[in-house]
Amino acid sequence: MSQQHDVYYVPSKSQWPIVAAVVMFLTVFGAAHWLNAEPGDTGFGKTVIAIGAVGVLGMFFGWFRSVIKESLAGNYNHQVDTSFRMGMMWFIFSEVMFFGAFFGALFYIRNFSVPWLGGEGHGVLTHQYLYEAYSGSWGVAGGNGPLHVGGAFSVVQPWGLPLLNTLILLTSSVTVTIAHHALRAGHRGRILLFLGLTVLLGATFLYCQAHEYMEAYKELNLTLHSGVYGSTFFMLTGFHGLHVTLGTIMLAVIWCRVLKGHFNKEHHFGFEAVAWYWHFVDVVWLGLFLFVYIL
């Protein structure tokens, strides 16, 4: 960090990229094998997924460990810091576009495909010949399509658990911001308290989400198979849940790093990157709450 600015920094060689490529390959190869497994399969795919997944965790641990070491050794100058920031910002942008694909699918299904199947617009003939009884409405009445794929279902009411989850995530965004201010002011106790609270809120959110899924499957008969309603509901909330899981793990790691004293007032990009990510996850949830649960 004390690097002079007139010298460029290029990191040393590292084994982690090739390790990462191998373990990622193992994970998806195992997954593809598992998805195509015939009855009576030996479980080869699952074994390979497990090896790959453990490898991915180990790779992240090892790679970040070496980066943290180099950071603490003061190797990274201002320019490296800016590169890291840009990397994280554009990564989050790519995540936005990933969710955009699923939100786009939701809008298309609600505004076009379902009404068209119900006979609107240029769907008149399809409706008349194939699905005359179909109303083309969303939700309980027609959300699983003209063939009622998955059978009758009920929807999750927005003003119960989802509202609570909204409040939890919004609160967690506030607590992580308080922790950030505490970090800049140098109050370690307050950082640990509020960052810890954020981790707990994230975990609570996940607990509520899991509870909601169980209820949906057991009591509402709302499953991944419930036509496009179930498809969009579980894909959007599911991918969001995965991101919250990832974010919570990252926050927990940052909490440990704060405990170890890795950050100071000026240099705490690791903290900020995770905070950005957390805000991003929060904003996606607001979109979900509005478009998946309420509307």
Partner: protein, 537 residues
């Protein structure tokens, strides 16, 4: 790790010794660029051999050589390998090699991630190509993987995961390029003094980050529809197969420009060098690229005119598509104006650049014809489309890559390639590529459908001509391989630092071959060293 990191800036001006250390654990943009280029060339020949199978089957009517399913595997794999394995990695390789040299940076901004971006690719393609040997066969529903056809293939999961890996690789590569260009420029290298190639890559990288995740989303929905019982593309459950096409082409159209914008950049480097004039209308060139990139997001449904879109959508996408001709026309005009009155010489890179300008423009015009909704109803899914996109991808993207390779090869290897054999390669390529693809326009206009292994005898003559052109074009590429291998390992003639008399820019101020580490301290850039130092328009 830490002790290695501390002596980083002082060590090696030369490459490290161990083979594994140098090529697999690399953090060096030149080595990683070379890996990308070698990988791309390998994939070019693998994808090319698939094309040879296609042309052999189509040599005369009747099912002579291969089974229809295998033919469909070949068309699918040819496209996937050429797009994701040959063209895109070639551009990333050229960007890796040249961007840091062009902007005075020591390396890419995130060198280890750079290495990961590359090393994901061989694994991804191993995964994808392995499906050809699986019991159920490889994907055979076309590279666009439209449902419901693609959902019938048992190899779908392998291909989807391979595409996820390629997407991760592309996104990381693009993030790296943006961070490099925005953060690592030497003092004095203002944004509007950067070479056009760097500009084209900056905008391409933005497109990659914006659309690769959308492709990931589209293929993930295919995966869950096939294996997890979702109904995204199943009308019985309220979905719509056309939804897939919308999401796919929202990725697919910017992807088309991902494969051509860096080519524009390469041509914009080559033409001024051999015309010995600064590029005409530098700013217009940059703005045109940005404009094309913007328009690429609002034209996707022109790939789907025949699926039954609402009339308003047809009309909007038709006009938006035709708008793209305006900035593209600006670029073609400016390349020609750059040559106008220049003292031109025609070394191999320039020959490829001139051929690019002419033949890419032909591909652009057939694209305009396809943009017209009523005309597209006739041309859709015929060989006219095949001819169109091969003119923009082979004589466009691939010619630019070959031209760029000849242009920078002496800088990479320190030796001049053999100019005579380079020219032989060029003339063989440019003649045979037209024998290969030009008749396909006529076949398409006469109604020959694409992706079908057999055809009406009425199409026999043009197909035979096209196949002969295809075999000879394929064979011509062996000359390219020979010239590159010769230059890299056997050539004697040393290349000067400024390889080409008219070449301007930072990359020509460093020695040939470029040392393992360049610009360990930021160079001070003076305007007169730059190709675009004096921007006065």
């Amino acid at each position: 790790m830490a002790h290695e990191a501390t002596h980083d800036h002082h060590d090696h001006h030369h490459a490290p010794q161990g083979f594994f250390q140098r090529w697999v654990m690399s953090t060096n943009h030149k080595d990683i660029g070379t890996l990308y280029l070698v990988f791309s060339l390998t994939m070019f020949f693998i994808g090319g051999s698939f094309a040879m199978v296609i042309r052999a089957e189509l040599f005369k009517p009747g099912l002579d050589l291969v089974q229809p399913y295998f033919f469909n595997e070949m068309t699918t794999m040819h496209a996937l390998v050429m797009i994701f394995g040959a063209i895109m990695p070639a551009f990333v390789g050229l960007g890796n090699w040249m961007i840091p040299l062009m902007i005075g940076a020591p390396d890419m901004a995130l060198p280890r991630m750079n290495n990961l971006s590359f090393w994901i690719l061989p694994f991804a393609f191993a995964l994808m190509l392995s499906t050809l040997f699986l019991p159920g066969g490889g994907p055979a529903g076309g590279w666009t993987m439209y449902p419901p056809l693609s959902l019938q293939s048992s190899s779908l999961a392998y291909v989807v995961f391979a595409i996820h890996l390629m997407g991760i690789s592309s996104i990381m590569g693009a993030i790296n390029i943006i961070a490099t260009i925005l953060n690592m420029r030497a003092p004095g290298m203002d944004l509007l003094k950067m070479p056009v190639f760097v500009w084209s890559w900056l905008i391409t990288a933005f497109l990659l980050i914006a659309v690769m995740p959308v492709l990931a989303g589209a293929v993930t929905m295919l995966l869950t529809d096939k294996y997890f019982g979702t109904s995204f593309f199943n009308p019985g459950g309220g979905g719509d197969p056309v939804l897939y096409q919308h999401v796919f082409w929202f990725f697919g159209h910017p992807e088309v420009y991902i494969m051509i914008l860096p080519a524009f950049g390469i041509i914009s480097e080559i033409v001024p060098t051999f015309a010995r004039k600064p590029i005409f209308g530098y700013r217009a060139m940059v703005y045109a690229i940005a404009c094309i990139a913007f328009l690429s997001f609002i034209v996707w449904a022109h790939h789907m005119f025949a699926v039954g879109l609402p009339l308003g959508a047809d009309i909007f996408f038709m006009y938006a598509t035709m708008l793209i001709a305006v900035p593209t026309g600006v670029k073609v005009f400016n390349w020609v104006a750059t040559m106008w009155g220049g003292s031109m010489t025609f070394e191999t890179p320039m020959l490829f650049a001139v051929a690019f300008i002419i033949l890419f423009t032909i591909g652009g015009f057939s694209g305009l014809m396809l943009a017209l909704v009523p005309a597209d109803f006739q041309y859709h899914d015929t060989y006219f489309v095949v001819a169109h996109f091969h003119y923009v991808l082979v004589t466009g993207a691939a010619f630019a890559i070959m031209g760029g390779t000849y242009y920078w090869l002496p800088k990479w290897t320190g030796h001049m390639y053999n100019e005579f054999w380079g020219k032989v390669h060029f003339w063989c390529s440019v003649v045979f590529v037209n024998v290969l693809f030009f008749p396909q326009h006529f076949l398409g206009l006469a109604g020959m459908p694409r992706r079908i292994p057999d055809y009406n005898v009425a199409f026999a003559n043009f197909n035979m001509i096209s196949s002969i052109g295809g075999f000879l074009f394929g064979a011509s590429q062996l000359i390219f391989l020979g010239v590159v291998v010769h230059c890299a390992f056997f050539a004697r003639k040393k290349a000067a630092d400024r390889v080409w008399e008219g070449a301007k820019g930072l990359e020509w101020t460093v020695p040939s071959p470029a040392p393992h580490h360049t610009f360990e301290v930021p160079p001070v850039v003076r305007d007169e060293e730059l190709a675009h130092g004096h921007v006065d328009d």
